[in-house]
Assembly symmetry: C2
Homo-oligomer: 330 residues x 2
């Protein structure tokens, strides 16, 4: 049976809400090890083991230092339980910095991986596009972008079943000459042929129109982009809702449209998707939004369990190896 | 009467479509000087002077070199007519690089301005937020970001009538420690007090929720963000439309909602807004989307004329001067 280590110390909604999500996931037959303040977590049901870890470093200014200095922090204990094999995968909605630091230090990077990347299926209707990095690192060195292109392609093949994913770089123009110096250099390397189907640069618009299956960017731009997508989606949906409430005629229309629109609402709801994958570590790590509630946390735990069962980490690494996309020296 | 120089050589839809937009604008009482291939432009009506300029550099790889080497290019001739005072403002939907190069070389930067910025009111419902730079330059030096913060604040005061605009930096986290090294440095300078109401960092989500009146970023991130907003808006609107067409019940509902939704459609339509302002030059320069048609071009010309009548360039510069935000040396 698959066991998922869950850090209850990170989520905005507090340990009790994370526990509620864990309870829902346990009902699906997943074993959960829940790390956080036992007092705040309260009673849990079958399939959940609570490990009292009252120290949370989810909001500290320097998560790297905190991970080193506070071995009893909930995220550190959770990561170590994955490293030791007691758990198969990790879920933490704390700060990405803390998850990343604990992951790199304890679960460790896969051999030949420069730096993990946070990857997410973008919340745009009809566009199952994988965007990475959405916030693991603001670094944008060309060789990192290139490796992230490979990581995205491998993940897309393994998890999404896309035989030959089209990979693009996010830029401010489609021409090879557009972008930051790092994007231009990465474009050059990828154009020279690296075994992946590189389709060039896409602009922001191209993410929404599905011009590529995988879109690669640095973690600063990717994070801004992801949060912008969520913001624009909710603003537009909110405006449609406001229009629906503006008069009786529109309200009647909205009532008739409701069933047809419910699928769209689900598609745009980040909680439905469980969060982002932290790729490049030796085990599966899922990072739900800090603001997820019970439902999103449960989804994240289910996603972690099924990704672990499918050996996503190992298979992604094999695909990277086959593509010759791992750095040679340690 | 206000005269607007219009470059017909840039727009994707071709010179004839730009001419159609110019004809509409001329009917509003604006004088237009139209630079482009007279043959392709064809007949025009009253209020429009066609200057035959068949050379277009809108799609060249190196616009800066092209502006220097091809003095007869339509954008160069259009910019020079503004520089000489024959026209009051410039409109060009060609490549931003070519407009920027022609603007800097001929219309020239305002005294004390490092680099012009492309500013736009974001196409998000209910959020009249000014975002800059959306593509004039990928440069992100802290002092440029700081000056763009001042330029955005001054423009927001002068044009939008916001008494004390709240200015933010776009970043991947709200804390002062988040962002690229350049964003962190700019945050420090702005926090030290510079006479503007600096509200700190906003994330992508914050643009949509109106946490600031002016959001400052580098031209690479801003361009990606702008095009992403447009892409997400249309994808969501498209999905609502598809849902409306999915069955008879939803279609009936959509019909009832249509009047209430038309305002939203207009609000999200980039053509309604006429394009972006290139700020920091001695005259008003408006950059419509390359893909605008007749209606968007007409709006851009009207926007250029009214901004020129209101002396937006001069008043923005005075506001910058009053804020002590101009660099001292030339």
């Amino acid at each position: 049976m698959t066991t998922v280590a869950v850090d209850a110390g990170g989520a905005d909604a507090g340990p009790r809400e994370v526990a509620a999500g864990a309870i829902d996931a346990a009902r699906q037959g997943i074993n959960v090890k829940l790390f956080g303040s036992a007092e705040e977590i309260g009673p849990v049901g079958e399939g959940i083991e609570v490990i009292d870890a009252p120290v949370s470093i989810a909001k500290v200014a320097d998560p790297v230092a905190a991970v080193r200095e506070q071995p009893d922090a909930s995220i550190v204990q959770a990561a170590r339980s994955v490293a030791s094999g007691e758990a198969d995968a990790l879920v933490s909605g704390g700060s990405t910095g803390a998850v990343l630091a604990a992951g790199v230090l304890h679960i460790r990077r896969q051999r030949g991986v420069h730096r993990p990347a946070l990857a997410i299926l973008v919340p745009i209707p009809g566009a199952p596009v994988l965007l990475l990095d959405v916030g693991a690192s603001s670094e944008s060195r060309p060789e990192r972008l290139v490796q992230h292109a490979h990581i995205g392609a491998a993940f897309s093949e393994v998890v999404l079943g896309i035989a030959r994913p089209r990979v693009a770089l996010l830029s401010n123009g489609e021409e090879a000459s557009r972008g930051t110096p790092e994007v231009i250099a990465a474009h050059q390397i990828l154009s020279d042929g690296t075994g992946i189907d590189f389709v060039g640069n896409v602009e922001g618009l191209g993410i929404a129109t599905g011009e590529a299956d995988v879109v690669v960017t640095d973690g600063f731009t990717g994070n801004v982009a992801l949060k912008l997508m969520e913001g624009v989606s909710s603003a537009v949906i909110g405006a449609v809702r406001a229009a629906a409430a503006s008069d009786a005629r529109a309200a009647a229309g909205a009532l008739l449209m409701k069933p047809a629109l419910s699928g769209l609402r689900d598609q745009l709801d980040p909680e439905q998707h469980g969060g982002a994958y932290l790729l490049g570590l030796r085990s599966v790590v899922i990072v739900p939004h800090g603001r997820f509630g019970r439902r999103g946390i449960a989804k994240a735990i289910e996603l972690a369990a099924s990704a672990s069962d499918a050996d996503v980490a190992g298979r992604t690494h094999s695909a990277l190896e086959a593509a010759g996309a791992l750095r040679s020296s340690k």
